[in-house]
Symmetry: C2
Subunit: 315 residues, 2 copies
Amino acid sequence: MKALLCSHGQVRLADVAKPVPGSQEALIKVTMAGICNTDLEVLSGYREFNGILGHEFVGVVESDPLGELTGKRVVGSITVFCGECWHCRRDEANLCLNRTTIGINDRDGAFAEYMALPRHNLHVVPAQLSDMEAVLIEPLAAGMRVAEQVHIRPDHTVAVLGDGKLGLLSAKVLSAGGSNVTVVGKHRDKLSLASAMGLSAALSDHFTGPADVVLDCTGSLSGLETAIKLVRSGGTIVLKTTVSGMYNIDLSEVVVREIRLVGSRCGPFASTLALMERHDLELSGMVEAVYPLDQGVEAFNHARRKGSLKILLKV
Amino acid sequence: MKALLCSHGQVRLADVAKPVPGSQEALIKVTMAGICNTDLEVLSGYREFNGILGHEFVGVVESDPLGELTGKRVVGSITVFCGECWHCRRDEANLCLNRTTIGINDRDGAFAEYMALPRHNLHVVPAQLSDMEAVLIEPLAAGMRVAEQVHIRPDHTVAVLGDGKLGLLSAKVLSAGGSNVTVVGKHRDKLSLASAMGLSAALSDHFTGPADVVLDCTGSLSGLETAIKLVRSGGTIVLKTTVSGMYNIDLSEVVVREIRLVGSRCGPFASTLALMERHDLELSGMVEAVYPLDQGVEAFNHARRKGSLKILLKV
């Protein structure tokens, strides 16, 4: 089958063997996949990964050991957990000590015609969601994770720093969940898109806070310092992106103003799909281009352009 | 009256006017006071304070506008709040936007024969507590604050990094409150003291964690990095001390392992006194020396010695 491989920091199209699913795994025919900034980081050497790239996908189950998922359209959560470690026994599969992560860490990913994944990772996509909406489930769930971790009250204000893909999608989920969210960014075109998506948006020069909750989705080392300035005393900053490099930062304000910092990783697919079923998230503006898998290298080149929105692969 | 002044970074004994209490303030005859590391930082220029030093004290009320506190032995919380700002209206007096702090920020402190303080800052000391125990209320309450902010469950392990005064006292409070606490430090004498106080103690080279909750009481820039190593995924790090200087730190583990960082400041006096009433905290080993106020400069010199325990002033 055709697949996009990461080998030694380069992405290339290759012909590889179709995966053979394990006893608890389903075989999925991938129909659409999305390029994430993490894929670009993987190519830059994050996690020293060599294999099939990609962790955002939607597909149709071709075979399921129990049969019930066969023929169903599914998305799949990206962390494959062991089910037996300290965290798994505490229902914290997200933090599994033996986890692999599709397309990132010790497990082939979704930029291919087929992939195998444990059937308990899969979630059936509601009929009214298009493939183009469903393929955005992973970054949307990452936004949903914030609402699992932080008690955002109806009287709270939430500032999402960063008007990139993760910022806009996180803002959209929290807003649909009832929170009072403002996207704070530096790019007028992105903030216009935020407005078109029904979000409140502000240029960072004009936004002074204080906000009860600040999400740092900037992907930049300066994001945390800005977040500390904008969060209220006693408020919460959510670190939503890993940033490569070292922070050089004064944290005394965190102590004196009793600020909380919360690291936040992947989120729940089931509740995010349920939210998407209840609310039209108006996501069409998020997609900048769709490439066939054959043109995957070109798709990656496009995704690398600064400020690009979501680039999808049609398989 | 006699008082220890901080003027331009120097501590000196001076004769100053006895304070005149405001309409809602009590006048307190100070009987004992404690030197805190923050007092040394104030002398080093933290907060640019000039005035009477000191925020740890016990005394007897000489006059109270409502009369009921007159003659009572009291301690006093160090933050004087406005009662009207955004935080005060939300019962977050600790974070008052217009706060002054005795002996630290815009308000004279306790190293004097008398001090004036709003009566609602005062708490009557239970009869069975000695002055020497009561004067430790402020750092003990700072430890109690952790239990207000973080839900420490009975099955959780707590590691207190730092075997200095704040570490030992915080560990003692959390331990008395029922938590499973280990003091992790570098000084065999301090760890012996911890054991003598009934605490579990470990040399940092021998302690590998993971702990559910880690308190950073090291006062050092390296404390946070150690805390990140020792906390479990999904666990909580409490930043208990302001550290002067800039952290140079990689926070990607905080995101990937979903760690929480909680800034923690002053704590509640009432509940801490109640805890001290219920439990003998065995604090006598914490006091290294008692000086008369007249020898305050010598007391400060003693307190500056690296690794010194609590130095008290008898007024």
